[in-house]
Symmetry: C2
Subunit: 207 residues, 2 copies
Amino acid sequence: MNIQYPSVLLENAVNEFAKLPGIGRKTALRLVLHLLRQDVPDVEQFSSAMTTLRKEVKHCRVCHNISDHDICPICSDSRRDETTVCVVENVKEVMVIENTSQFKGMYHVLGGIISPIEGIGPSDLEIESLVNRVAEGRVKEVIFALSTTMEGDTTNFYIYKKLKPYNIKVSMIARGVSIGDEIEYADEVTLGRSIVNRMPFSESYQL
Amino acid sequence: MNIQYPSVLLENAVNEFAKLPGIGRKTALRLVLHLLRQDVPDVEQFSSAMTTLRKEVKHCRVCHNISDHDICPICSDSRRDETTVCVVENVKEVMVIENTSQFKGMYHVLGGIISPIEGIGPSDLEIESLVNRVAEGRVKEVIFALSTTMEGDTTNFYIYKKLKPYNIKVSMIARGVSIGDEIEYADEVTLGRSIVNRMPFSESYQL
């Protein structure tokens, strides 16, 4: 439907919403008209929550997860096992894995995976900082929990080689998650078990 | 899924998005993480489009449609037939009807319908201004295009009585739109024909 807007301000707001993934122009219009019915302070609160987050967001100095402080709540929790580090693509995967309650170690958020097509190389990711963490000597095991895609495999191998000199255990979550699926959409039970049933990296690829 | 957020700022932003109709917490998180990956000026542009719209939005002095000026583009278009006024609930219905290209008259946006349950009475709506428009003498026909619900019927009857002294034609869009359906979700063809095939108000309710 090619809607004619009675107002440029309205059209601008709809355009902005429609830039978001999965939001079409009809949905965008519905959301904008909803905001228009709210009080001014409520709309300001909505807008400022987005800009404040974007401007003031910090990343944990250790694991690079989103955090309000220099060190995130997980990294500063002394009850967690600092000898085991789970490597994930993004913040969202940390939340999803935390939600399974199956993992009591630490995380390392790469900020993406190696993808030549999108122009993302190893230096764009938090790989060096992971190697440095391992080099410090307290980490005994690194678990890969990247998406089971070609890009995920490539990233696994790249990091695996970088970590080889340190002689630590490198495992990956069990392939209970179907090949080709994204980690963030896996169901909790499958994802939880795949962490418990992790296997040595070399076995999983039959190296 | 009961997600634990690593950051209060992130949680605030997700909470704000999840207040929007039809946006669950998972979708809200996905949208917020998308915004987080955009550049600061882009996020500011998004936020300011919403607050600017909410703060600077005007309503047409004549028909009460959203407008950037005192008089909206439809009311100031001399090619349109000012003797016919189509009465609608909200801004969205004006856009939907405009899109059918079947109507060349004017509109009158009530800003809602009479709903005792939601505490909306006639004085909360732009009914008096409609009666005043008719009283000026140029309007020859008023077409009701409200939702075919109990509240819509009640509003139709209320306005019909108010307009009776002025001896103009009062019609309503043909009931091609299924009873119980909302105007904004009708398909364009049905809606377009229902405007062309409108019938006298008194006939439609067999008064």
